[in-house]
């Protein structure tokens, strides 16, 4: 008979208690990993941006647009391969007013080639007429390119809003007043959910002609560079162009631009970490309580083991192993469960966050936490039973 079978016999001596403790540890580590997942998801949003692209916005804040005439001036800066326009629309679907999603007006002939690796066109309406498409544009976009009120929708969003390809939807503009019709002409899939997920894209021309009163304005310019090593230099050159104009610009890498959004969450990540800590402490108590109870009712057994010749160290190991099996078992169940469940649920807090994912690193952190809890909760009872003198152990009857 080896040590491990002794441990297992002990575990099954009160199966309900073992089960309850494991379950509460599993539940707590599920929560721990879910909170870690929120932080992971926010971190992903930062990582999406490419270091080889730049984003130019108005220096005051994103809310202020820049004249469309900047486009050609920026494009003339050496080292810029391509420039695309992106403008926030801020529309709301009156059919589902509580479903939030992003709409951007873009110039498709530049925008889609720039994001060819991030946005994969998965479906498109058949074109009404033969259109000559630029070579670097996906042929499935033909119908969209031919129709100014056409739009391209993310596949997840399409499913969530129960739209179909070819359907015409109406959005109420919050910034550009009125009811705007759009016809869904293509569907895209986002390679990374933090970019393009929950998003609808449409023709910038449509917005310019119907919403801007003839004055062309752009919210953000996206710049694709020939050589990413020159990013900082080019950003400086672009901003220098408009330094003394009425709309000064701020140019940064797309990654820094994305990081700006995450820093807007302010103290929330800190609060989540704090809650994670409280959760860990709470389960530590549950586990410690169980181990103390489990060992206390076995005092005389420990005496018997020692009488039979088990060394103090062996008794110590048996109790510690028991705690480890309970906490690690529960921990692995909860952590891996969180990964599987949350990744599959695509939970996005009503559109406020990108779809949640839990990284394996968070799962690993959860399992490490479980191991530490196992050690911490088992240590005192293990030490007590190792120290116990046989006479005391056998004298106590209850």
């Amino acid at each position: 008979m080896n040590l491990l079978s002794l441990v297992f016999v002990n575990l099954f001596r009160n199966p309900l208690r073992t089960l309850l403790t494991m379950a509460s540890i599993a539940v707590a580590l599920f929560l721990f990993c879910a909170l870690g997942g929120v932080l992971d998801t926010l971190g992903d949003a930062v990582k999406f941006g490419s270091e080889s692209r730049l984003a130019t916005r108005n220096a005051i804040s994103l809310v202020f647009p820049m004249p469309l005439s900047y486009r050609d001036k920026i494009a003339a800066v050496p080292g810029i391969r391509r420039i695309a326009v992106q403008n926030w629309f801020g529309g709301r679907d009156p059919v589902n007013p509580h479903e939030f999603f992003a709409q951007f007006a873009v110039d498709p002939e530049n925008f889609f080639p720039m994001y060819r690796n991030e946005l994969k066109i998965v479906a498109g309406s058949p074109p009404q007429a033969e259109v000559a498409l630029p070579a670097d544009l996906d042929p499935k976009l033909a119908a969209f390119m031919a129709e100014q009120t056409g739009c391209v929708v993310n596949d997840e969003l399409l499913r969530r809003m129960k739209w179909t390809l070819g359907q015409t939807i109406h959005l109420d503009g919050t910034i550009y007043p009125g009811s705007w019709p759009f016809t869904i002409r293509a569907v895209f899939h986002s390679a990374t959910p933090s970019f393009g997920g929950n998003t609808m894209l449409f023709h910038f021309k449509y917005l310019e002609q119907n919403g801007m009163g003839g004055h062309g304005f752009a919210g953000v310019y996206k710049l694709e560079l020939e050589n990413p090593d020159h990013a900082a230099d080019i950003a400086r050159q672009v901003d220098a162009l408009f330094e003394n104009s009425s709309a000064a610009t701020h140019t940064e890498t797309e990654r820094a631009f994305a990081a700006g959004f995450v820093s807007m969450y302010g103290n929330i990540p800190f609060v989540l970490r704090l809650i994670g800590l409280a959760v860990v402490f709470a389960i530590l108590l549950v586990a410690a309580n169980t181990m103390v109870m489990a060992v206390r009712e076995r005092t005389s057994e420990v005496g018997v083991l020692k009488t039979l010749g088990f060394a103090d160290g062996t008794v110590f190991t048996i109790v510690l192993l028991e705690a480890a099996v309970i906490t690690l078992g529960g921990g692995i169940l909860g952590s891996v469960g969180a990964k599987l469940l949350i990744d599959r649920s695509h939970f996005n807090a009503g559109g406020a966050l990108p779809p949640m994912t839990v990284h394996w690193s968070s799962v690993r952190a959860g399992i490490v936490v479980a191991a530490v809890i196992g050690a911490a909760s088992g240590l005192i009872p293990a030490w007590q039973s190792a120290r116990l003198r046989i006479v005391d152990a056998l004298r106590r009857v209850d």
Binding site: L16, R17, L20, T21, A23, S24, I25, V27, A28, F30, L31, A34, L35, A59, I60, S61, L62, V63, F64, G90, R92, F100, D172, G173, T174, I175, P177, G178, N244, S246, A248, H250, A259, G260, V262, S263, M264, Y265, G266, N267, I268, V271, I275, A278, V279, F281, A282, I283, L285, V286, A288, N289, T290, V292, M293, E297, A349, G350, A352
Partner: protein
């Protein structure tokens, strides 16, 4: 006949370690629960206090926040000259046409930038927002490039101390005062003179007009008249409703997150309580048998154990309330994605929150105590006695 409650109380103190750990487990859950409620209610309160039911706010039709609004000078003149606008005794209209913009400013104390709301107001209309008081320095001088900063946001952004210069577009503005506004979201804003701020930002555009109504009871008529005016193209909201609605999305997200986190923690705490109560029942087989022999019915035994579990949970709940109390009043901040700007607000623990927390604890106690109590009551007497 019921078993005396003192029996249960004494039992709880018989096993102090186990009672204490279970209590703290309950306590932490209730603490997080109350904390989430306090976060949501603090945020809602900050926005709710910004609006008064006596005021009306006018924005462009369809705008869901002031930054997505825009009103021409003609439109604002028509609104401000309307017959429903209340006046001060000296004949001044109680109204302000505001320039509201977001500026991206570096944070203090944590890395990154965030959006800070800058509001240009009519300097003559401070009476409209009577909750505003200067706490430090002085009011900005009309027509000057001076600004005042809300008390809650001042420690969170760079360049907000008295005498600092803050740059908006091409111009520098000097901070001359800090103000409080009864804890409302105005304390998260920077205020200056609208006539000076307007040309710095968008040019001839106002974002909203707010006015005190002569008769707040006639709001519906005021709204219909203005919204029907073809020269305007506006939506009219009661100011209190407008700001409550600004809290909408974020308050919902906090609510969902809080509920989700607490629910999971509650499941864990209930399992822990079941463990403790099963142990309590298991170690008292003899006592239970004696109680039954004395004539207590199995039902009273069950009720007695349920009460014990309830006590345990309520003590934990009370502990949780105590642990949560220090967070009351702590100021935190995040971006309100409706207005796209940073809002600083204080955790706000309410009596309702505490009551809900205790009820929640009681619920967890009953859920955790039910099965062990049932086990205690349904144990056959003969079997227990034989083991004596």
């Amino acid at each position: 006949m019921a078993i005396p409650i003192s029996y249960n109380l004494r039992n709880l103190f018989q096993r102090p370690v186990s009672t204490l750990t279970t209590m703290v487990g309950f306590g932490l859950t209730v603490m997080i629960f109350i904390g989430a409620l306090a976060l949501a209610s603090g945020f809602k309160a900050a926005l709710k206090k910004s609006g008064s039911p006596d005021n009306a706010i006018v924005v462009r039709k369809g705008a869901d926040s002031e930054i997505s609004s825009g009103l021409s000078r003609e439109a604002t003149d028509i609104i401000r000259g309307g017959p429903e606008v209340a006046t001060t005794p000296d004949g001044h209209g109680l109204t302000s046409a505001d320039v509201v913009v977001l500026t991206n400013q570096p944070r203090l104390g944590q890395p990154g930038y965030s959006n800070l709301t800058v509001r240009g107001i009519d300097p003559s209309s401070l009476a409209l927002r009577d909750q505003v008081r200067i706490t430090d320095g002085r009011m900005f001088a009309p027509g000057s490039d001076e600004i005042i900063v809300g008390r809650r946001i001042a420690p969170r952004f760079a360049h907000c101390a008295l005498g600092d210069k803050m740059r908006f577009g091409p111009r520098d503005f000097t901070v001359v005062g800090h103000f409080e506004a009864a804890g409302s979201s105005f304390e998260s804003e920077v205020w200056g003179d609208n006539a000076v701020l307007m040309p710095v930002f968008r040019g001839e555009v106002f974002e909203s007009v707010t006015f005190r109504m002569k008769d707040p009871g006639r709001f519906e008529q005021v709204r219909k008249t203005l919204e029907a005016d073809p020269r305007l193209g506006v939506d009219v909201h009661r100011e209190s409703d407008w700001y409550t609605q600004q809290a909408g999305v974020l308050a919902t997200v906090i609510g969902i997150m809080g509920f989700f986190i607490t629910l999971i923690m509650a499941v864990g705490a209930v399992f822990g309580a079941m463990n403790t109560m099963f142990a309590a029942v298991g170690s008292r087989t003899r006592e239970i048998a004696v109680l039954q022999i004395l004539g207590f019915s199995p039902f009273s035994v069950m009720v007695s154990f349920m009460i014990e579990s309830l006590f345990l949970a309520l003590m934990g709940g009370a502990l949780g309330c105590l642990m949560a109390l220090p967070i009351n009043g702590i100021v935190t901040s995040t971006t309100n994605f409706t207005s796209f700007s940073e809002v600083a607000f204080a955790f706000r623990i309410t009596w309702v929150g505490i009551a809900i927390g205790l009820i929640f604890a009681a619920g967890m106690g009953l859920a955790g105590g039910f099965l062990p109590s049932l086990a205690a009551a349904s144990r056959p007497l003969a079997k227990s006695v034989r083991e004596l």
